[in-house]
Symmetry: C2
């Protein structure tokens, strides 16, 4: 980590920073990986490697068996005085296991500590037997109170019986010191496991645990903390380690992000002290920034009294095991309320966000359409001249864009059509196209237009394909503006050709937007963004007429 030396000097002591290999979670990574900063690292592997392979296997098996025993005991013991030590044994044992062994263990948990279905079946029969007289429930007239009491009791018993046995383990861990954090790591492992193979019982285990975590991490149980330079080094170290959007390059960078004209807020849970579950970085500005450079490098910053806009330029969640639990929505709402209260002159709340999936989507689109165009050229020549009716081949470029790109062909990048030229250009080494005005000016129009289409129209199960877009839209934001060359870092160019987007949160529209997005998948966008799409429709017509 670049700033390690700076840190050490500043803190006048040697610090152990999480190593660079630590996988930082990114709000936008959909498949989280176990992240154990601050927790004991698997120790056994290193130790055991020195032994011969067969005794290693035996030891591992023995170790796994031991953890399995403590797991079963943690589920089934009724001796409350030993629960704490059993849970400690289990969690310590779990951390000492390799990922493969953890998988084996989780499979055992999913299968052996599942619902008692014999009991469920019995109770269902009992329940159905009591059911008939209950057409009248609600009136309770004519039905004997004692019969009703029996019915309600059976219903409650059935409800309880439908809870898997691992419910007990989860509940116990939740009230055990360090247990909540452990559960989030356990869930991260479940997700890694499910990413490789879909096992129904493990999926059910995961979905159950997710529900429990969501309950325990309700907004009411979370504390909002304004993170400043006065916070402990151990906390700030975690901010550096977990920042997932715009890496913190050195100690000065960190100090600036916590200083004048900046805010950093974290959501903390009392059971996971000293470590935010999610945090957001805010810049106070005169106008909504168009490039990330303005935000990260403005020196001196806008005086706070002149700010009219609060820009959310980075949101990072720290626990891969909390994937799918939307803590960001409440965080953003509370931060808006807080800033509004403290700074009534701030009236605009916007983001400057990456578009992590754009370039990947576009390159696949260009490649597949190019191929289709080629194969069609070979097999169905009568369709080459366009035909807007074709469901297979669609030139996603406008006529003028196609022409401009073909002009580059030969001189810079070769290609049989505009799409292929564009593909080659975007794949050029070191993003060469950004260094030449001639190239970037040609590619700008189609890149911006298709980006708008990607954000507003490309969907998966009714939701925006882009994970960040989906995040802000479900929180009730609208798509406000695309910014050209807004992030010229390696990562920014790779993800989105350097384009960034402003989402805007209007407090009076948040719920309405969120509802119509959630219900009908409707995406609220500014007229600016809309106009790209309209020109696209026009463009297609034009293309079709070519």
């Amino acid at each position: 980590m670049k700033n390690r030396k700076g840190w050490a000097i500043l803190m006048r002591s040697r610090m152990k920073l999480p190593s660079n290999n630590t996988t930082n979670d990114n709000l936008f990574n959909k498949l989280p990986i176990s992240n154990e900063i601050g927790l004991t690292k698997p120790a056994s592997e290193g130790n055991q490697m020195n032994q011969n392979p067969s005794s290693f296997m035996q030891n591992s098996e023995r170790e796994l068996k031991a953890v399995q025993v403590s797991m079963h005991s943690a589920v089934s013991t009724s001796k409350t005085d030993i629960i704490d030590s059993v849970l400690n044994d289990f969690s310590e044992g779990y951390f000492s296991l390799s990922f493969e062994m953890r998988q084996e263990l989780l499979l055992v948990l999913a299968r052996e500590c599942d619902v008692n279905r014999t009991q469920v079946r019995e109770l269902i029969q009992q329940y159905l037997g009591l059911h008939p007289p209950l057409g009248e429930i609600g009136q309770e007239s004519g039905v004997e109170e004692s019969l009703l009491t029996a019915f309600y009791r059976t219903e409650r018993n059935l409800r309880h019986a439908l809870q898997p046995k691992y419910e007990i383990l989860f509940e116990r861990l939740n009230t055990h010191p360090g247990g909540l954090k452990f559960l989030s790591i356990l869930r991260a492992d479940l997700l890694s496991m499910l990413a490789k193979e879909n096992i129904a019982s493990v999926r059910a285990l995961d979905s159950y645990l997710k529900e429990k975590l969501a309950t325990w991490l309700s907004p009411a149980s979370l504390e909002l903390h304004h993170i400043t330079w006065d916070d402990s080094a151990s906390l700030l170290e975690k901010i550096v380690a977990y920042e997932a959007v715009h890496p913190i390059s050195n100690i000065l960078d960190l100090k600036r992000r916590l200083g004048v004209g900046r805010r950093c807020f974290g959501y903390f849970h009392p059971a996971i002290p000293g470590e935010p579950l999610i945090f957001i970085e805010v810049a106070l500005q005169k106008n909504v920034a168009q490039t990330i450079k303005e935000v990260l490098r403005d020196d001196p910053p806008t005086p706070e009294s002149e700010a009219t806009c609060a820009l959310f330029y980075s949101i990072s969640s720290t626990q891969p095991g909390l994937a799918g639990i939307n803590l960001g929505k409440f965080l953003i709402k509370r931060v808006i309320e807080l800033v509004k209260r403290d700074m009534p002159h701030v009236s605009t709340f916007a983001t400057l966000s990456p578009i992590p999936g754009y370039m990947q989507w576009l390159l696949i689109k260009l490649a597949s359409q190019t191929k289709l165009a080629e194969s069609e050229a070979g097999y169905t020549p009568h369709r080459l001249d366009g035909g807007s009716g074709s469901t297979f081949r669609k030139n996603i470029l406008h006529k003028e864009e196609e022409a401009a790109l073909m002009e580059l062909s030969g001189e810079f990048y070769s290609g049989k059509n505009g799409m292929e030229v564009m593909w080659n250009l975007l794949n050029s080494k070191n993003y060469e196209w950004t260094s030449f005005e001639r190239l970037s000016s040609v590619v700008r129009a189609p890149l911006m237009r298709l980006c708008s289409r990607y954000l507003l129209q490309e969907k998966k199960r009714g939701k925006a394909l882009d994970a960040v877009a989906n995040f802000h839209l479900q929180n009730g934001a609208m798509v406000e503006r695309l910014n050209w060359m807004a992030d010229q870092s390696e990562k920014g160019l790779c993800q989105s050709g350097g384009i960034m987007v402003n989402y805007v949160y209007r407090m009076d529209k948040i719920e309405e937007n969120a509802q119509s997005y959630f219900g009908e998948g409707h995406i609220q966008a500014s007229s600016d963004l809309q106009s790209y799409i309209e020109s696209k429709l026009q463009g297609e017509r034009v293309t079709g007429e070519k």
Copy 2:
């Protein structure tokens, strides 16, 4: 309240103390009553009383309807931006209702926001349809993964469907400011309602809410706070108001209970700030106190460095709506740990506890046995001379006790037998019997012996009949010693003839005791206590031989 003036002078400002009419909860009261210290009092009744009766009725009906509407809306709305205001409307509306109207409303909640049983029935059919292939669950061999996925999904849906709709209201209130406190008041109302009439759907509602509250108030979410004289007046005022065992008589009394040689600890929930859910008062002493006077009046107190014993002399829970949720167990365990850590020379942890149900039990016993004896005397004279085989008549007094009591007959209290004399003596005005050595010395032996029998042998559903005994026994304490004339206050004499009991907590035995009490109803007692019972058996034999 006696100490109001003292308070006001001390705090140099006028304070509104909860009035004497406020019903304080007592851990030992089994039927809690709504307690709304710190909350808006029903306002509507007073206002409406000025109107004519018919418009009063109409207004009340209208009001009830309005609260009902906000309740339904709080259950069913999906607009998260209005939830807060809907919940505010609902809770404010609820507080404005009379108890009768609250009952009506709760009945509506229980019946109309119940489980959707049509959906449950459908899902059960679906579930049973998927069930057969699941004999193999656990192996997942031969069963298609997609079938299993469908099965788990149906099972989860069934689990969800079995949750009543009011679950949503509870969850929403729990995360709403003031909502947890409101739910505890709502439950107190439910309990008052059920004390008058057993309605199955309301009982189910109560049992569901109790489960939820127990989850939310898990020890992990509670904070232990050492309450001192440096705490806010608003907090200390609540200690005065809620002290349920030994009323705090004046400001000096309060100060002493928080001063040298004393400790007061409260369990707080973050969502109910400034008000403990339960608190415990501790005296540090050289020996386990035998009278409450020693505890409340010792001046100067034992120097803390000389203390070897921590005496729990008062535990008060403040929320009637949390009845049946044992917060005391964890509180006592944590306090023992804390005191042990801070004062390693303290090795004995004991209580000095009231026996709230003793005198009531004894008087009923004496009266009924006397009556039985009389009726037997009339109808079955051949049995008058005893007959240990009689299942109806049992002289619960020993031969010597009977004789000593009959000696008093005529001179002080009349009676056909010892039991009747004793009944009359115990019911004498102003506890006259305690003022005369002659009387109290005669009654001491049977009172102590029968008290031991009451504590160790009288049970209800396998649990100790006495509520305080049951509380400490289920927490893992043992019955150590009975103390004669330990509490000579009006309340003490009325409840238990002035007898108090020491329960002792031995850390190494707590779990063992709790388990055997919970499992087999076994009550652990000192040999001292046991000897009373043994002499009782002897006594009965003697009576039988008379």
